[in-house]
């Protein structure tokens, strides 16, 4: 059978991944540079009986997908910086009420309206701490379309597994660039479906009582179990509670269910990493330049490698520590003022040898941008 | 059609907050507030089973139970 090979934008790869993962419902609002996701899904979803709705604003889009998820649907929305800011309160709601959903943020320059049509990776920390209060979150990213597809599928799987919102942190370059995508056959990639309760009708169902394995089986709104969902701290039935034990227990659960599974959630790739003296830690479109440089210099005998992170939150501290242990220096290649740099510095043994190779002018960081800095660090001058 | 006849006015004292709406808006002054500010039935014989106390009660604390009365002449 011939492979399903496509030549697509990154945003389209995200759409293909979402549909492959079983997306049923999308609500969104137009915003550059993510709009193609909405446009494509407005066509593709109804073809398969799914639903697409263009809401009145970014907030409403986030709220609508949460409502739809509660009825048992796989849901997503897509946006960019300003919209991501607006969605934060409702993302916190999905964290608190433990509602599976996927939010794609195709990053552009910020703050504020910023640089709508140009690339940036400035929303890494916002993905982690954009909503108020303690919580944990999963954020995935990718540097090429095959991985955009794969990470999108993973995002849906993790949303179901951990009953949590999952953020896809793409960027303008990945979103708009066209390259090859091979859409996997059905069954090639694992799909995690909604875990539904086996509690029978008329038997007390506890929507917020985790099983032994930590998972919380759900019951669809409209089904046999009527329960309450709230953004307030709540007991195992979903009813509001300010009992100190229940409050602290729930908060711990919300954080632990993700942070304790950092290994299972971690996604990364190694490029020329073996024996590397200089390690470039990168992700998203900036990783493309880092990989290009490493491959290029390797062929000339230089020991440069790339650790490409595909999961940014929970931050893979142990992985970074282990992979960077033998390096003379670590360069974090990203298009912001050092948001992942801070994490890498905190992870490694020798933070003084961690440097930032960045670009913040709306242009994609190039291999020669990185090379220049690397030469300085190596004591070779520019 | 048979007229509704009062069987009982059941007041849930745990739910009643003593706002007095039932007392003051009853057309026949069937209810009063007692010493602990809870609604009580004092003149059940005057009740015309209009159910306005039950429907207006913000605490959902009143239930007017009726039975079929004599046929209307």
């Amino acid at each position: 059978m011939p492979k399903n090979i496509r030549f697509v934008q990154g945003n389209e790869a995200c759409v293909e991944g979402a549909l492959y993962a079983g997306l049923d419902f999308y609500a969104g609002y137009p915003i550059t540079p993510s709009t193609e996701i909405a446009e494509l899904l407005s066509e593709r979803l109804p073809e398969r009986g799914g639903k697409f709705i263009q809401m009145e604003d970014e907030i409403a889009s986030m709220c609508a997908i949460i409502g739809a998820s509660l009825t048992g649907k796989k849901v997503m929305t897509a946006t960019s910086g300003p919209g991501f800011s607006l969605k934060q309160e409702a993302i916190g709601y999905a964290c608190m009420a433990e509602i599976p959903c996927v939010i794609a943020n195709v990053q552009r320059g910020g703050p504020s309206t910023g640089n709508p049509t140009h690339v940036s990776q400035g929303d890494i920390n916002q993905a982690r701490w954009g909503t108020h209060g303690d919580h944990s979150i999963i954020a995935l990213t990718a540097s090429n379309h095959q991985d955009v597809f794969k990470m999108t599928v993973d995002a849906f799987n993790m949303a179901e597994t951990y009953r949590t919102p999952v953020v896809l942190l793409f960027d303008e370059v990945v979103g708009h660039m066209r390259e090859k995508l091979i859409v996997p056959e059905k069954g090639e990639l694992e799909i995690v479906d909604r875990l539904r309760t086996s509690v029978a009708k008329d038997v007390d169902y506890h929507p917020y009582l985790p099983r032994e394995d930590g998972r919380l089986p759900m019951s669809d709104f409209g089904g046999e179990h009527r329960y309450n969902v709230t953004g307030l701290f709540h007991d195992m039935w979903g009813f509001p509670s300010n009992n100190p034990k229940i409050v602290s227990g729930l908060l711990r659960h919300l954080v632990d269910k993700i942070d304790n599974n950092v290994q299972a959630i971690t996604r990364y790739k190694e490029h020329c990493l073996e024996g590397a003296e200089y390690i470039l830690v990168s992700y998203g479109s900036s990783a493309r330049s880092a990989i290009h440089l490493a491959q290029n210099r390797r062929s000339k005998g230089e020991k440069i490698g790339v650790l490409e992170l595909q999961s940014l939150w929970p931050f893979p501290v142990e992985l970074v520590k282990e992979k960077c242990a033998g390096a003379k220096a670590v360069l974090v290649v990203e298009m912001n003022m050092g948001q992942v740099l801070t994490q890498v510095k905190a992870a490694v043994k020798n933070p003084d040898r961690v440097f930032l190779a960045n670009r913040i002018d709306g242009k994609l960081i190039t291999p020669s941008d990185i090379k220049q800095l690397l030469r300085v660090i190596q004591g070779r001058g520019v | 059609m048979a007229r509704q006849k009062l069987k009982a006015i059941v007041i849930n004292r745990d739910w009643c907050k003593g706002c007095g709406i039932c007392v003051h808006l009853c057309p026949k002054k069937v209810l009063e507030l007692d010493g602990s500010d809870k609604a009580v039935v004092v003149r059940p014989e005057d009740c015309i089973c209009c159910r306005m106390c039950e429907l207006r009660c913000p605490d959902l604390a009143i239930e007017v139970l009726t039975e079929e009365g004599e046929e209307n002449a």
Binding site: I66, F221, Y227 | P58, L60
Partner: protein, 269 residues
């Protein structure tokens, strides 16, 4: 089923103040649902934040207590993904028309089949008595110690203009009317709005010298009149009650089903 069968009795007595009109609205709503003999598994109540929003905890339906102002947006997701469900969206006046005003007009514009109940007490009760966009001028509130200068929305006119296909108004005094209106609104195919004027004796009443709950209910009796009544004709300054709009227009979920049917056919051919 009896009225109590629609309540989660273990959470009562409720948290509202003595004499709060919101309790009466809950009362009317469960009576309406009982009159219609609806299946509890097919009702979803979506509420926002505020005193009003607590209503969803007391009913034995699927209940979704959401964010301030966003109830209709959440409800839109529920309804569009499962159109056979009855979706009830009770909201406070600030909830529905200040922070949630945009969702209100857009849900009406779409004519999506759900029932918005505006529990209008003209005040933010939960936060202690600040004025709302329905307070109107000349009202005292904790954020208007010298009285409000803000004009108010007319919920009925706003809902009409935005395209709601069922628009009604009643008060917590007129409970039979309320119950009937709610039942009609729930049965109506399309976006229905029922504004119910609801007394807040604790904050609005006290600050504005309107007396206790009984007195405030008396004001609803005296200051409103039925649509088409002689009283309204003679005193046009009274607040009209009744059903202002009841019309048929294509409903959003049904229209989307047509899109699906078309898209599927296009794909096959």
């Amino acid at each position: 089923m009896a009225v109590k069968d629609y309540l989660r009795e273990r959470f009562l007595p409720h948290m509202w103040c003595p004499g709060c009109g919101h309790g009466t609205i809950l009362n009317a709503l469960v009576h309406a649902v009982e009159d219609l003999q609806l299946n509890k598994n097919e009702i979803v109540m979506v509420s926002g934040i505020g005193c009003s929003a607590r209503i969803s905890g007391y009913v034995d339906f699927h209940s979704l207590h959401t964010l301030h102002g966003r109830a209709l947006a959440f409800a839109t997701g529920v309804k569009l993904s499962r159109p056979h469900l009855k979706v009830l969206v009770p909201m406070g006046d600030g909830d529905a028309l200040a922070i949630g005003g945009n969702h209100f007009i857009h849900a009406a514009r779409r004519n999506i089949d759900m029932t918005a109940i505006v529990m209008n007490n003209r005040i933010y009760g939960m936060t202690g008595g600040q004025f709302s966009p329905l307070s109107g001028p000349g009202v005292k509130a904790t954020t208007a110690p010298y009285k409000t200068i803000d004009n108010s929305f007319d919920v009925v006119e706003l809902a009409k203009a935005a395209g709601a296909t069922f628009v009604a108004r009643s008060t917590a005094f007129h409970v039979k009317e309320c119950t009937e209106m709610l039942a009609k609104a729930i049965l109506h195919k399309g976006f229905s709005v029922v504004e119910i004027m609801s007394q807040c004796p604790t904050h609005f009443g006290r600050k504005n010298k309107e007396g206790d709950a009984v007195n405030m209910l008396g004001l609803y009796r005296d200051n409103t009149a039925k649509l088409g009544s002689k009283a309204l004709e003679e005193k046009p300054g009274l607040i009209p009650r009744g059903i202002f709009v009841e019309q048929e227009r294509p409903e959003y979920c049904e229209e989307y089903d047509k899109i699906i049917a078309y898209a599927m056919k296009e794909k096959i051919s």
